[in-house]
């Protein structure tokens, strides 16, 4: 470790990690406030069995993303970028482009100290701009919802199928066989008589993992050793 590396580590990185963990922990704890207010302030809470079963569905789909996405973004974002990015979110669509643009503007490279600092300044500013837009959208949203015709307001009942259709189209682009196959299987699972609906997700997950293993074996048989370690890239469709 040369002198600059050591000074950078002692004067910046150590403090940055402490601040990053502290602010992340604080914000993470505060995210419980709405749920706790509804529970203790107003007395509304669904039974734990419902909450846990809903959470179970999410954990089983996001488990790999929790762990592997930060790893995938780490080389280009640096540790400071990971702290801000994993609290503020929108990494592929906002944070990463902001970092890359800032580095291009200043001639700094990813993986260097200079690139890390330039990147975190850009990402930090993007947090403020994003919050400003979301706030504006929330205020405008109330006005928009009050002037929209009833036809359009009622159309919002269909947000979920529309988003899911669009997201599936994003995955379909790179998975032309798997996407239609698993979708037909899921449709089949939903139509099986006497199958309790609670077992639908676990079944879909098990089948997806099995199909994933099969398709990994096929890729591996074709090309046993990857030319270079490939970065992790699970989500085609910005999820975090």
């Amino acid at each position: 470790m040369n002198d600059i590396d050591k000074r950078f580590h002692d004067e910046y990185t150590v403090k940055m990690i402490r601040n990053g963990r502290l602010t992340t922990l604080l914000a993470a704890l505060l995210t419980f406030v709405p749920a706790l207010y509804l529970w203790f302030g107003l007395g509304y809470k669904a039974d734990w069995e419902y909450i846990l079963s809903g959470w179970g569905i999410m954990v089983s789909s996001y488990f790999f993303i929790y762990i592997f996405e930060p790893l995938g973004f780490y080389p280009s974002m640096g540790l400071s970028g990971i702290y801000v990015g994993y609290l503020a979110g929108n990494i592929p669509s906002v944070r990463l482009p902001a970092m890359l643009a800032a580095r291009a503007a200043t001639g700094a490279e990813a993986g260097t100290h200079r690139g890390e600092l330039v990147g975190v300044i850009a990402i930090g500013v993007s947090v403020f701009v994003n919050v400003a837009f979301v706030t504006l959208a929330a205020i405008a949203g109330n006005v928009i919802l009050s002037v929209l015709p009833q036809f359009v307001i009622d159309a919002f009942n269909y947000v979920l199928p529309a988003i899911l259709g669009a997201v599936l189209a994003q995955y379909f682009k790179k998975n032309k066989v798997f996407v239609p196959l698993i979708f037909v299987i899921c449709l089949g699972i939903c139509r099986v008589p006497f199958l309790p609906s609670i077992s639908r997700f676990p079944l879909a997950i098990i089948i997806s993992i099995l199909l994933g293993v099969v398709s990994f074996m096929r890729v591996k048989a074709k090309d046993p050793i990857p030319a270079e370690p490939t970065p992790v890239d699970i989500d085609e469709a910005d999820l975090e």
């Binding site: 669904a46 999410m58 930060p70 403020f128 159309a155 009942n157 669009a166 698993i182 699970i234």
Partner: protein, 240 residues
């Protein structure tokens, strides 16, 4: 049995105490961004970062956020109509995109055996969605708090394995869950039309914007509008 159904829960979801519950998280998020910008600028002299470079980085960060910021308006209105202004504002300000948060809200509703924001979706189902979304995001926070500062060594361990395995199986798992969410939505012609509308418009938009990545930021918002309008049209003119 739930109560405050038929969107009555929105009076609670949009109440001012809910705003008080969500504001602290976003304040901490901005404090974190401010601390990181300040520390990066202070450490700049170590790696030869000039005041001009910092300004350039800030400008790049701000400019890159404008496009995605504008695209917030559509998804914000859609999400607000389901979970109310304060919670939508919080969730779109921090980690988790509209897709993730809608899936979380749906998982909570599914666990309660109702449709998200449907006629039977009441205050308890709303709390279930709030809990599931909150707990789901903790997956990112926990990995961040426990492993981010050890990322370098985690990466070395991971790269001993064939990373394609995690990519492929993780990808299949995610697609499987989205396919299952969608399959459960395919209960009437309007919802199916919404899904097909979202799918086809996204496919078309991805084709049209393939040479203009900056324009692709609006794809999801546009596909969403097309999908819900098609669904509502089918509902009004075909099903009724």
């Amino acid at each position: 049995m739930d109560f405050m159904t038929n969107k009555e829960y929105l009076t609670v979801a949009n109440s001012w105490p809910m705003w008080l519950c969500v504001i602290p998280v976003v304040i901490i998020e901005m404090v974190q961004a401010a601390i990181f910008i300040r520390d990066a600028m202070n450490a700049g002299h170590l790696v030869g970062l000039s005041k001009q470079d910092c300004k350039e980085a800030m400008r790049a960060g701000a400019i890159c956020t404008i496009g995605p910021g504008i695209s917030m308006f559509t998804v914000m209105v859609a999400f607000m109509s389901m979970v109310g202004g304060p919670f939508a504002w919080l969730r779109l300000s921090i980690i988790g995109t509209i897709t993730t948060e809608t899936l979380g809200a749906t998982a909570g509703a599914t666990a309660m055996g109702v449709d998200l924001a449907g006629p039977d979706y009441g205050i308890l189902a709303f709390t279930c969605s709030v809990w599931v979304i909150t707990l789901n995001t903790w997956g990112f926070f926990i990995v961040n708090l426990l492993f981010a500062h050890k990322m370098e060594s985690v990466k070395v361990i991971m790269e001993k394995h064939d990373m394609r395995m995690f990519n492929i199986i993780g990808g299949c798992l995610m697609i499987g869950c989205i396919a299952m969410f969608l399959a459960q939505q395919c209960t009437n012609v309007a919802k199916i039309s919404g899904a097909i509308g979202g799918f086809l418009s996204m496919t078309l938009l991805m084709f049209l914007t393939r040479k203009h990545p900056r324009l692709s930021e609006y794809n999801l918002g546009i596909a969403l509008i097309v999908g819900i309008l098609i669904a509502q049209t089918v509902f009004v003119y075909v099903m009724k």
